[in-house]
Amino acid sequence: MNSAELLQFVASGLQNGAVYALVALGFTLVYASTGIINFAQGEFFMLGGMLAVAGVRAGLPLPFAALASVVLTASIGLLFERVALRPRRDSGPTVLIIITIGGSMVMKSLARHAFGPNELSLPPFSPGVPIVFAGASIDRQVLWIWGLTIVAVVALTFLYSKTKLGRAMRACSLSHDAARLMGIDTARVVMISFGLAAALGALGGVAVAPLTQTAFDVGSRAGLKGFAAAILGGLGNPIAAVVGGLVLGLLESLSVAFISSTYKDAISLVVLLAVLFLRPQGLLGKSRREKV
């Protein structure tokens, strides 16, 4: 295998990895402020792509359609939190998780009713020939995906460390009671994190649709991969989510390169399990001691 080929495998891994990372960021955001895993996160990814296609079909210019889709999906996320999760905020995490599973079933099925069972296409953001870098060729849309991932991470890191809302979110992640005592409106923070998570998922969905097309059923897989990436990196911090996503993507493409394309998903899962068993807090997570 020459270096250009190897680089191509790496590029492929980083492309998928960036998508996983965007979904993982959504998981991590919701987990940080609520302590639950939002199983509807993959459906936000699906909605992002589908709504953008609908926008383009309705005659909106692509950038507006993309933006409108992200905003609309974020509102759906907010609404979902407000209507279905807020009333049961004080129930245990399993109840909330099952509600998100119910939500994902409804969203997926409604999308099928609204957009039909077939896959839909979205035009690329900036059409043109692929960029060739050291023998590896990279689709222009992939540059968009990478760019958006970087923007999302930088923005989230800034949000967490520099803004009042970010501090409120971090306070919520430590303890809701403590955050409330500090005068933080925890309900609002949770709702905003759902909105942001939905927006991130949608952003991923919009960015990927021109490459892969989209359909009502792409959410489950996206959610699965994103969840795996978030766990692999370590739940609760944006950088870890991105690292988890990229590592997962690379594992898959390198499995194709060196082992077998049939078992690539299984191989990456085995590695994930191994990491989980040996280092349950994930690659970058901090181990949390249980207080006796």
Binding site: Q15, P130, V208, L211, S261
Partner: protein, 394 residues
């Protein structure tokens, strides 16, 4: 004690409920007996939701369209046709329940379906027990290779398409091929037959790669394939990943010809792959370009008529799956018209097996006691995508 009480209350309610329902169901069936000139009852097990929703929906559209047309014309033998649709949700177990329901509660004469190979195979025991003929719209070779006197099939199975495609490749001088197939039943079936038949067709398979349904990037597999320097890439799958393969090839600057399977004869592929779809070739029946039949031929008229009516009814031209469903329905209706004496599942099965020269969308069907697929390579042509549509590749 308390918990056991509750638990058993649940069980009691469940049991009482089912007993009640059972009684009602029986009453219902009793009422439908003894009516003269009642409609012929046909069952259809379709994947209207789940993974194959995109296949089952046009299938249902086609059957609905044809049933309405035949009933509007007075039905068959002066009796109307009533079709009972069941959704199997792309789940074999649900397909079994669906078939059992059609047989037990609806007393159907025949079952059309299922959409997928797995579902088709799953309902076999139900079919066998009731002796009801089944006409499947699934393309898996196993459906008719694993022979069952009750089971018929309308799509071109890989057993026919693969040798045709390999022959076409050979004829075009493309003898070193790389194979990329998906891990679904359709892709695996195609893969196995290609590997088995390649040598006989004078084709060498120099690379084999797989993709999983739902994969979003195939550059890794294609980079492996690129290293093997094939004359052509043969892709065997039916899902949206096909467009990604085409686009990834373009991205990698691969000029190798890409040849696909009938499963790629969908407009979504052309839309999804865009410019990368140009020059893509695949084998399929003549329905996509009916002119291939010859414009004054009977098949041309049948296909053109169906395409016109379908497009008018649903605003989009039929895809190959709608065609398979049309054929399956046509096979049953045609046999109904030929049954002499009492129409029973058994006599209907015999009539279906005697189908001969029946012009459908996928081709001209002639079943026999040993061939329940009824199509030959003659029905296939090679298509090429040019200017965002299918043209014949001569």
């Amino acid at each position: 004690m308390k918990m056991r009480g509750r638990l058993l209350t649940v069980v009691v309610v469940l049991a009482l409920g089912s007993a009640l329902v059972a009684g009602c169901a029986q009453g219902k069936r009793g009422a439908s007996d003894g009516t003269s000139a009642k409609p012929y009852r046909i069952g259809a097990v379709l994947s209207l939701t789940g993974t194959y929703a995109g296949l089952g929906t046009p299938e249902q559209n086609a059957i609905k369209l044809e049933a309405a047309r035949i009933n509007a014309a007075g039905g068959i033998n002066g009796r109307l046709i009533e079709v009972f649709y069941e959704d199997d949700g792309t789940d074999p177990a649900k397909a079994v329940a669906a078939a059992a329901r059609l047989i037990e509660q609806e007393d159907v004469l025949a079952i059309i379906g299922a959409t997928g190979t797995g579902q088709t195979m799953a309902i076999r025991s139900e079919i066998a027990r009731a002796g009801v003929p089944q006409v499947s719209m699934a393309g898996g070779s196993v459906v008719t290779d694993d022979f069952d006197p009750l089971v018929f099939q309308t799509p071109w199975p890989n057993r026919i398409v693969v040798p045709f495609t390999l022959k076409a490749l050979k004829a075009r001088g493309l003898t070193k091929i790389a194979l990329i197939s998906d891990t679904s039943g359709y892709g695996t079936d195609g893969h196995d037959i290609i590997v088995k038949e390649a040598a006989a067709a004078g084709i060498e398979v120099v690379a084999e790669q797989t993709l999983n349904p739902g994969d979003t990037d195939m550059t890794a597999q294609l980079t492996k394939i690129k290293g093997a320097a094939p004359d052509a890439i043969l892709m065997w799958n039916a899902g949206k990943e096909a467009a990604i393969v085409a686009k990834n090839m373009q991205q990698l600057g691969m000029k190798t010809p890409l040849v696909g399977s009938p499963g790629n004869g969908r407009k979504e592929f052309i839309e999804g792959a865009g410019a990368a779809a140009e020059g893509f070739r695949f084998a399929a029946g003549k329905v996509l370009v009916p002119a291939a039949y010859g414009t004054d031929s009977e098949p041309y008229k049948v296909a053109n008529d169906f395409i016109t009516r379908y497009t008018k009814a649903y605003g989009t031209p039929p895809d190959i799956f709608a065609g398979h469903a049309y054929d399956a329905f046509l096979v049953v209706v045609d046999a109904l018209g030929r049954v002499e004496g009492d129409v029973t599942p058994g006599s209907l099965r015999d009539a279906i097996e005697k189908t001969s020269g029946l012009v459908g969308i996928g081709g001209t069907f002639s079943y026999s006691a040993t061939d329940h697929n009824g199509l030959t390579m003659e029905e296939l042509v090679l298509y090429r995508v040019a200017d965002k549509t299918w043209v014949l590749d001569q």
